[in-house]
Subunit: 255 residues, 2 copies
């Protein structure tokens, strides 16, 4: 049997019709459709695909990175075209390249960028259904910026961590936090070495409470200090969240 090739694959997906990345007894999940497409492409070989992280139900990806080992040999351009032919319309493959043997989409990742999209205004948007969090009241953008910039640094994010989070430490480094106004949308762009479960969505939910005037920006200092999830705001809906890109050491993304 020839030695297996380690593959690095970049995926885009519309999370609206998925129950998240991970295989589970109920509901359609991205991992299953990717493994199914690969098995067809590789002549029936069963592969296990590892993602950089497990996106939740409704969450989208502009550049989710996955890795898997396969014995069947395929040229990269055929892997790319084959995946795009076999994946459902709401998942697409942007890149497929052989990777060094020690590359692992999850364990090799050194950073991630997320975008959260809020639509501000009355009514609803047909074209952006399932792709943003609609907020019907005006938001105080400068108060939100004031709150969010307090989260840049190496901090204890316990107050923004979901109940079921299995990470051993609640300390994370966030090195970029930006709030952009794009027409009637607010984009919250976050970059960090890694994130706790629901961390971005809990930060956004709390930032919206600040934007609505329910809390002052200094509340974010208190949330960091108090380390108590029950003090922070609601979890923003998955539909507004996009995994934009995942960082790896340059030596691991060259094949």
């Amino acid at each position: 049997m020839p030695s297996a090739t380690n593959w690095r694959v970049v995926l885009e997906y519309d999370g609206a019709a998925f129950n998240g990345w991970q295989s589970q007894p109920q509901g359609r999940c991205i991992q299953d459709v990717v493994e199914h497409a690969l098995s067809r492409l590789l002549g029936g070989e069963a592969v296990t695909v590892h993602a950089s992280g497990r996106t939740d139900a409704g969450v989208h990806a502009l550049g989710q990175v996955c890795s898997f080992r396969a014995h069947a040999d395929r040229p990269p351009e055929r892997m790319l075209a084959g995946l795009n032919a076999l994946l459902p319309p709401d998942v697409s493959c942007l890149e497929a390249t052989p990777a060094p043997p020690d590359f692992h989409a999850r364990f090799s990742a050194t950073g991630k960028r997320y975008r959260y999209v809020i639509r501000v205004g009355p009514g609803r948007s047909a074209l952006r259904r399932g792709r943003c969090w609609p907020i019907h009241w005006p938001l105080d953008v400068s108060a939100m910026e004031d709150a969010l910039r307090r989260l840049v640094g190496r901090l204890d994010f316990t107050s923004f961590r979901a109940a079921g989070c299995s990470a051993s430490s609640p300390v994370r480094t966030v090195d970029q936090m930006a709030l952009l106004q794009v027409d009637d949308e607010l984009h919250i762009e976050v970059h960090g070495e890694g994130f706790l479960r629901h961390m971005v969505r809990n930060i956004v939910g709390s930032a919206v409470d600040v934007g609505l005037g329910k809390r002052p920006p200094s509340w974010f200092d208190e949330l960091i200090d108090r380390r108590d999830r029950s003090l922070a705001g609601r979890t923003a809906p998955g539909a507004g969240l996009y995994l934009v890109e995942v960082d790896y050491p340059a030596t691991l993304t060259r094949s």
Copy 2:
């Protein structure tokens, strides 16, 4: 019976799952779902909804304008909220206001703006499926700009007119034509007093032939001069086309 109110309604829709605006024996159409929602909202009153123009299958709207007369009396904010509650997820109501009696969405329109979205690059985009024309080869943007600007003016657009077009004259005035690069997308923005059937899509199809190097920009002068549809390029897919907004005299949009 009280006199009917004339209504002006602005709609956004995702055209992907529609067979266009107009009622027809086969396929789901936007006119039907809007008339159905209105009938439910107005206690069973049957209304006929006129749009500014009949968008084709797959074509989207960011601001389609419609008008209709209804006897049932509803406050505008209830009309807006009611339509958004009763319309399917892929159609939304952005505005609903009473209009002067002589306002007609089609006959009162004085101009329209369309956007055509091309995605340039390999593979496909899951999040933009049904919302752009994917072109897999590089396009010469400056050649396309050179071609497109030749269409600004009052010209005979016979070469860009669909076979079934019922307009009495092929002469139209295009006053704006812009090509914008937005990340991996090209946006062709067109504004004019009115458009022939498939005119924007036929212009875009021909512009892509120029972008691919199959034709020089001066070909557009020839197309205008020769007045022969068989000489122009293919019709670009409906999925990339967005009706952005419709213009009316200010006196007709105040109630």
